[in-house]
């Protein structure tokens, strides 16, 4: 690990002032940044420890039905907040399917959204990577690409975004609150992670000194509570990143879908959402036919970026599985294996 200066600012203004200096990195839980520093991928000259900034660890219901979650809320605390988990069961399930209990006890909301890709070539400082050094090239192309993107990739970058949490959040129209030297702004989470361009790699769209202060869920997002699931396929039962995943959220009245949300994880540089696929389901009777149609639309245009063509069909099937489970209803209790394809589909159903 390189030597660095360490600063623990007392206020947001002080933090932004320090965070805007060249070579500065914000540190919250540190589970992602410290790991990257140990392997030499992150080499900040100044670490700005924001973990004790006041007022950023609250979970609030807003007047009008929306929710606001502070940037420093720990993943485990959000998943275990009874009110939040009841309103957003798919988000809680996604959180609990990620990392380990130890990591979730420390990792923060903002850190989860800011985490870097787990592309092995990004994580290896000796490999060429456009994300680490723009213009360097991409050694993942033609390399070990089993886990890489099948949607929205270019020759510049084929990395995926690893977050589970972000997948149902994008489906629910979550908005990221950002503060920086020029003041505050809000950005839909769906636009927070840029897709790669012909020459540019994907990544987080934050300017120097900017940091996440919170996340808002709009009024109406909790209306999907009775039919919200997250399903994640990974190469071991627990403590692994998604090969592919899907968040499916439905509103069903009189055996008819009146609203639908669907997003895929593990397939692109950001959670993949196609509003047209959701629109295809509205007015239909929940069932395999309509779920297959919607899932097929989700992977339209998908292409292998290497040895990962299997992920296209897998993503389609995981989307169908997630929709089927969502239609059956949110379980009354969090499954023993959250988001697992091994969890039984049956069980008590909770109708909020």
């Amino acid at each position: 690990m390189n030597r660095f200066d360490y600063l623990r600012p007392a206020s947001l203004a002080e933090a932004i002032d320090a965070g805007a200096r060249p070579g500065a990195s914000y540190l919250a839980g540190g589970t992602a940044l410290l790991d990257l520093m140990k392997i030499g991928v992150a080499r900040p000259g100044l670490v700005v420890d924001i973990s004790r900034l006041p007022g950023l660890d609250r979970i609030d219901r807003l007047d009008g039905g929306g929710w606001r979650i502070g940037a420093l809320v720990r993943n485990a605390d959000l998943a275990r907040d009874a009110g939040f988990a009841a309103a957003f069961p798919a988000v809680a399930e996604a959180l609990l399917s990620g990392a380990s209990a130890q990591v979730r006890n420390v990792a923060t909301l903002a850190g989860n959204l800011m985490q870097h890709t787990r592309c092995a070539y990004f994580q290896d400082p000796h490999s060429a990577c456009n994300r680490r050094s723009p213009g360097a090239g991409c050694e993942a192309r033609g390399g070990e690409t089993r886990g890489h993107a099948v949607l929205g990739w270019t020759d510049a970058c084929i990395a995926t975004h690893p977050s589970d949490f972000a997948v149902p959040l994008v489906a629910l129209d979550a908005v990221v609150e950002i503060a920086g030297p020029q003041g505050s702004r809000a950005l839909p989470l769906a636009q927070f992670h840029a897709l790669p361009g012909a020459e540019t790699p994907g990544g987080v769209a934050l300017g120097p000194g900017e940091l996440i202060t919170g996340l808002r869920l709009p009024p109406g997002a909790a209306d999907f509570a009775a039919h919200g699931r997250y399903v994640k396929l990974r190469e071991r039962t627990s403590f692994a990143f998604a090969l592919v995943s899907a968040a499916a959220l439905l509103r069903i009245r009189d055996d008819t879908i009146i609203d639908a949300r669907l997003a895929l994880g593990g397939v692109a540089a950001r959670p993949w959402r196609i509003p047209e696929a959701e629109a295809l389901m509205i007015g239909a009777v929940p069932g395999t036919d309509v779920f297959e149609t919607a899932a097929a639309r989700m992977v339209q245009g998908a292409a292998a970026s290497g040895d990962n063509g299997f992920k296209i069909d897998l993503a389609r099937r995981i989307a169908i599985r997630a929709l089927t489970l969502a239609a059956a209803g949110t379980p009354a209790r969090m499954p023993a294996l959250p988001a697992s394809v091994f969890a039984p589909a049956t069980g008590a159903v909770h109708h909020a």
């Binding site: 690990m1 030597r3 660095f4 200066d5 360490y6 623990r8 540190l27 540190g30 589970t31 410290l34 790991d35 140990k38 392997i39 670490v47 420890d49 973990s51 485990a76 275990r80 990392a99 380990s100 209990a101 130890q102 990591v103 006890n105 420390v106 039962t237 627990s238 403590f239 969090m334 023993a336 294996l337 959250p338």
Partner: protein, 164 residues
Amino acid sequence: MTLSITLVVNGDRHRVTLEDARPTLLDVLRDRIGLTGTKKGCDRGQCGACTVLVDGRRVNACLSLAMTVDGARITTIEGLATGDELHPVQAAFVECDGFQCGYCTPGQIMSAVGLIAEGDAGPDPERIREGMSGNLCRCAAYPGITAAVQDAQARLAQVEGTKA
């Protein structure tokens, strides 16, 4: 620039000076305070051998800079027993054969203490395995570990019952 932090480890207050901010909580516990029960496995948060409690929550000591836990109460494996009397989780690991080589065991036990305190798993072995998935055991003593967590929960519930 010398940095200074205070940690309350197993009830004892330690003032530690650091040359710079790089040492992790794990390195400070082992190399500066001399508590080597907490193990360094992967040093990247993947194996769980370094699990300790920070203000009562189980965390990977390798993924926390010591600076960031300045002022915290830390519990390590050395802080569980009362004199010669093992903590119920330690006793359960012995009784249920929850280990073989023993290297991961301090982390397993601290993780189990954290899991039981969280109160989400209950006696369901599937929930216990999922809750303990941040702790690897290369000897694969998992059946014994799961049984030990179940056994320890029962012991602790009994202790609570006696108090009530």
